[in-house]
């Protein structure tokens, strides 16, 4: 068995990369896959917080690279899912403590024992980003339906193409169907039209995502959440299953009922 290494990146910060990593890894582990997440954001770590594992950290990725501990010692097992691990970033070092070849070496060591290695890239296109994409078999670009986020995503796609990393896949995060309907937000079509890459999934705006992140319990574990459902579907697609896109407009509710009555689209 050899793991697939998947890196999530975005260019712009704050679009939901870390949340997406935590949710996809959790969803894959819920499907019985053996998963390791790596936090590539050296110096500004937060994947451990979102996954609720902060207080279990003893060693981090820089300790592994600099030989202060074995790789196994830096891997933190999840509280609920025994087949899911986190390798945390160092909080007190900067990204120059890690090089692209270090990342490749660690991933190669992990590959035989896992199904998926998921890497959370820092924002930006500098060293930390290079580190995160170096070992990737597949890159997922996360963006929001906002002009600035899409432009940065476009830049990242261009760099990935120039580095011959293959065409990345797109996760469109925090789409609000009501705003799109009223022409107040870029639609999925607008974003895809510009980026010209394959769509892996659309995650609707959902306040449960923030609540989950703050509680250290990713939203995929909430069976009722629509964002959770979207992440579960993306995880299925990563495993090669053909899952159709959710119909985001079937939400019902009072507001759409009013819209239907008044004939607004």
């Amino acid at each position: 068995m050899t793991a697939q290494v998947i890196t999530l990146t975005s260019g712009k910060g704050g679009v939901g990369k870390t949340t997406a990593v935590a949710n996809l890894a959790t969803a894959l582990a819920m499907d019985g896959k053996r998963v390791v997440c790596m936090d590539g954001d050296i110096g500004l770590r937060n994947l451990d917080v979102v996954m609720g594992l902060e207080n279990r950290i003893v060693y981090d990725i820089v300790d592994v690279i600099e030989g202060r501990c074995k790789l196994k010692q830096a891997m933190i097992r999840d509280k609920k899912l025994p087949e899911m691990y986190l390798i945390p970033a160092a909080q007190t070092r900067d990204k120059n403590a890690v090089s692209p070849s270090d990342m490749m070496r660690i991933c190669n060591d992990l590959k035989p024992d896992f199904d998926f290695v998921i890497i959370d890239s820092p924002a930006g296109i500098e060293r930390g980003f290079r580190n995160a994409i170096a070992p990737a078999d597949k890159v997922l670009v996360v963006t929001n339906p906002e002009v600035s986020a899409v432009r940065d995503a476009d830049r990242v796609v261009g760099i990935l193409e120039a580095e011959e990393k293959g065409s990345p896949l797109l996760i469109l995060n925090r789409l609000n169907p009501t705003l799109v309907k009223n022409n107040d937000m870029l639609s999925a079509e607008d974003v895809l039209d510009l980026l010209g890459i394959q769509l892996l999934g659309i995650v609707p705006e959902d306040e449960n995502v923030v609540i989950g992140s703050n509680k250290g319990a990713p939203v995929v574990t909430d069976a009722k959440s629509r964002a959770g459902q979207a992440f579960r579907n993306i995880a299925k697609r990563l495993q090669g299953q053909d899952v159709p896109l959710m119909n985001l407009e079937s939400q019902g509710g009072l507001w759409s009922a009013i819209q239907r009555l008044t004939g607004r689209k």
């Binding site: 692209p100 070849s101 432009r151 476009d154 830049r155 261009g158 760099i159 120039a162 580095e163 510009l194």
Partner: protein
Amino acid sequence: MNTMEQLTSLVQIKGIRDGLMATFTDASWEDQRLALIQQIDEKPTFFQGARLAIDVGNQILKVNDIVELRDQLSERNVALWAVISESPTTEQTSQLLGLATRISKPRPEERKNFVDTIRDDDVALFLYKTIRSGTRIEYPNNIVIIGDVNPGAEVIADGNVVVWGRVRGVIHAGAKGNRNAFICALDLSASQLRIADEVSAELKPHKNPKPEIASINEEGKLQAEFWNVS
């Protein structure tokens, strides 16, 4: 002479206004790359935090070659920011990686030869891809793009620019002052165009885009009009 000295003499490094410049010869790229890294490793404090441009002469470099060198340099805290090359392939590769291909002082002699032998109007850089945000394509003659020019991308030609796709970034034709240059595209909506020193007002996106051509009209204004199939 021992091997180390031989290696080291392969690549010359000198200071320029914008940092350091390493000049490569036509000898094996691999040897010269190693020689450069060796030179840096010998004097790490001197190179610490340096901005490095490389002049690679006629070497034809692939993405991997440049990326490998850049990563090795970056591990040594040296920033590769420019690749100067005689080869259009290498130049294009470097531009796609976001590296500069010209430094403030223009290259002497050799570039001229290239231009002298072929008439300007006959030469075009042909790109079969979408030009994405953050990419800057510069070429001393015409540029033809089969693909889109996305917002945040810049295309700068001394000659004309033809885009078989949508233009939503910045295009500058006749960048050296040629007021007869033109820009045409299947869709010129919502972008900024420049010809010589004229700048277009912001173009409104069209509902139903049609091919357009932009040029400087008799009043000296930059103007875009629909392509007339007559």
